[in-house]
């Protein structure tokens, strides 16, 4: 065999379309009212405490109950301007819905995510602007990065009366909402519609194709703007550290997902027949499930620890398995085999070592593969940050920030996946942007 078995159109176009339809279709009005009726309107609600952005969930559900959908949307968006995307992609089963007291009562939480989507979609669809900008401050803030953290920060700053310029490396804003995340979680170009809604507040200038280190430097931004917010994400992909890692067929999962998200026709996307995914996070699940739904014959996720330790939630794991993806835990790759392209991966079984890290048992096994996806995490692309990397304090390989998302530099804040201590979720990135914007606003109003 001289060519790898990687080909587009493994399934009929209509089958692919069906496979990539909305994972959780929106609630009808009747469904929303019934779901809303299940909310107990808890005091100091545990769901709100579990929401990284602190949305007053019983409050917005009460508004759905009463038919004041715009009031519900305001309650959500005032805490989380990406409430629409979070309603689709949040792992609610480990956040708000895990905390719902209905779990204790009857092991079934209120459908908070779906209700949130029910409240937000009409506002985005109609473009209803809920946040009139306050009096102009005359202050200018640079936001580096157009993902959830950057957009959240920019919107809040614009709302508070400041002028914002977003510098985006990518051609489109939205970050992982646009280039990551499984397609069936955000259909109908929602990511771009949400970006358009956010920008429509006014006062936000967007410069695309502009990344730190390329055309601009942090020092220059600090001079030209009153404050800077860094939300550069994790543009670098962790390497397996194996020989032959650059063989054709060994692919960064994030890159493939981005191609898939941007593909005008998914039936034209090349898909491997036998796919091996290495990793245990959301990216691993997203790439595995999407390959399966594109028609890959055999998809296996291999993870070096126990399933319970996977970064992907139980719901995501179940989704993978019901989609036909196999999950093997306690194994790590030790060799990539192939001459012109990868054909096989050799794994070693692992177990928990004395330092709780996985260690090899010495037993090996091999899997044939046409494609091997690396999904073992990302890191800041320090090389792309230019001189900024030298002057920022770093913790755990990411930018160090305080509780209000301020970096070690005077007028520089940071948030999203690029800062230390985050959870790498859209919702936490939005919260970072919000907190930083509030801190920047105070700084600017106190004469900064």
């Amino acid at each position: 065999m001289n060519t790898p078995d990687i080909a587009p159109g493994r399934l009929a176009a209509d089958e692919i379309e069906k496979n990539f339809a909305d994972l959780h279709p929106p609630l009808s009005k009747s469904q929303a009212l019934i779901a809303a009726d299940r909310c107990y309107f808890c005091f100091a609600a545990p769901c709100t405490a579990a929401c990284p952005t602190g949305i007053d969930i019983p409050r917005f559900i009460q508004s759905i109950r009463s038919g004041d959908i715009e009031g519900a949307a305001y309650a959500i968006l005032s805490e989380n301007i990406m409430g629409g995307m979070c309603a689709r992609v949040c792992p609610t089963e480990v956040l708000c819905e895990e905390a719902c007291v209905r779990n204790t009562h009857e092991e079934k939480p209120v459908d908070i995510g779906l209700l949130q989507r029910y409240a937000i979609d009409p506002v985005i669809d109609a473009g209803t602007q809920l946040f009139p900008r306050v009096e102009a401050s005359g202050k200018r803030v640079a936001v580096v990065g157009g993902g959830p953290a950057g957009l959240s920060c920019a919107h809040r700053l614009a709302w508070l009366g400041h002028e914002v310029t977003i510098f985006s490396r990518d051609g489109k804003l939205g970050g992982l909402n646009e280039y990551g995340i499984a397609a069936y979680k955000t259909v109908d170009d929602f990511a771009q519609r949400e970006v358009a809604y956010i920008l429509a507040i006014g006062g936000i200038e967007v410069r695309t194709g502009a990344g730190l280190g390329r055309d601009l430097s942090l020092a220059k931004l600090c001079r030209e703007f009153d404050a800077v917010f860094l939300a550069v994400g994790l543009a670098g992909v962790n390497r397996l550290g194996l020989e032959s890692e650059d063989l054709p067929g060994v692919i960064d999962a994030v890159r493939y997902i981005a191609e898939l998200r941007q593909a005008p026709d998914k039936a034209q996307l090349p898909v491997g027949r036998r796919v091996v995914v290495i990793g245990g996070g959301m990216t691993a699940i997203d790439v595995a499930v999407q390959c399966k739904r594109l028609g890959a014959e055999d998809v296996t996720i291999v993870y070096r620890r126990a399933r319970e330790q996977m970064g992907a939630s139980r719901f995501e794991q179940d989704l993978a398995q019901t989609s036909g993806v196999r999950i093997r835990d306690w194994a790590r790759p030790v060799r990539l085999v192939g001459k012109e392209f990868v054909t096989r991966v050799e794994f070693e079984h692992t177990r928990e070592g004395p330092d709780r890290k996985p260690e090899g048992t010495g037993e090996t096994f091999a899997m044939n593969a046409d494609v091997v996806f690396k999904a073992i995490g990302q890191e800041i692309a320090w090389n792309e940050l230019g001189a900024a990397s030298a002057i920022l304090r770093v913790a755990d390989g990411r930018i160090a920030v305080d509780a209000r998302r301020k970096t070690s530099l005077d007028n520089v804040w940071a948030g999203g996946d690029c800062v230390a201590g985050g959870k790498d979720l859209t919702v936490t990135a939005v919260q970072d942007g919000k907190l930083a914007a509030q801190a920047i606003d105070e700084y600017l109003k106190s004469g900064g």
Binding site: S30, L33, I34, A36, D37, Y40, F41, C42, F43, A44, A45, P46, R65, V101, R102, T104, H105
Partner: protein
Amino acid sequence: MNKPGNGAIELASEFLGIRSPNPFWLASAPPTDKAYNVNRAFEAGWGGVVWKTLGEDPPIVNVSGPRYGAIHSNDRRVIGFNNVELITDRPLRSNLDEIRQVKRDWPDRAVVVSVMLPMNREVWAKYVPMIEDTGADALELNFGCPHGMSERGMGSAVGQVPEYIQQATEWCKSVARVPVVIKLTPNVTSILGPAKAAKEGGADAVSLINTVNSIMRVDYDTLTMYPATDGMGSHGGYCGPAVKPIALHMVAEIARNPATRGLPISGIGGVTDWRDAVDFLALGASNVQVCTAAMVYGFRIIDDLTSGLSHFLRDKGMKSVKDLIGRAVPSVTDWQYLNLNYVVKARINQDLCIQCGRCHIVCEDASHQAITHTVDGQRRFEVIDEECVGCNLCVSVCPVVDCITMEHLTSGFDARTGRPIDDRKADWTTHPSNPMRRPA
């Protein structure tokens, strides 16, 4: 028809000597307007019907706009219901012929005929014999409908004036051979005046309540009242589960008041399941009438009514419906006779608590700040005896069955007042703060 299950009690019922296989009658209303519906009801197992109100010929006309409006829970359960339908709009002869046939076909069921006539003795003398001639078991005089007919001096326009009730009852009784039941309107300040008037006019029984004056809501688009006919609406009669407590109070007042005690009562108002029937029977009604539940769910609800009541009677060791009638009446009294030495405190079962905090927030905002939200840094809801007045608000709002209960203190001190628990009864009539107190 549903047969009672294992060991269940037969529900055979007697009201004014009228026998029916169970105490559940359909009230005079749309479900009893025609033989077609009544036959279906009897096939389903209903014990009796009160035929929809007959009036003088020519028959009235109804609006062709909406007749009904509802208050819903969010999952569209009907909680309250109202209507502007008038009495039967069919010719008297059609009704009389059908009543005669139905009674002949269903001799074991109660067939009572509701009647509404103007305040005119000759009219009563003319129509009552015609109706009796059908073989109906009794007459029920509709002095209750609050809409439409009341504008013409009938229905609740009669029921709101005790003198009219007594007069019309006397006219009817002077020509009637079958028992006469007076159906009362709740749209009065006290039900005792109308009930006494009915009794003094010679009524054999009263039935209550008829519907309550009501406007359901406005139309939020047009800002006109809803429902409306051509942009205009008229108040309707309110019924359904929401009115049951009003009805129970009025039934109990008649049952316990010396002037009306002993007057047979047919209980009406929001009966939906068998427990509602237990309420009415225990508070003094001898049977119950049902309308809204049948309109909302269909006649098949009779199966739950009979099965549930029968099992309840069995579990209570009762031999018949009769054993239940009036059982709770002695427990209804005036506020001034409530035992002020009786102390209860809320108790929260921590194993059942789901941590919603509803009890805390209502006690905090609306009552006596007697429930914690945090104990030792943990989310935890506990009753503070020093503040708890035993008001039952927490019990009322807790979503978990039996999670919060009220404990009766029988010894020691009331932590709130610091006073020892006194097991002697002491009420307002002898309370030191009462300027009109009697010596204890």
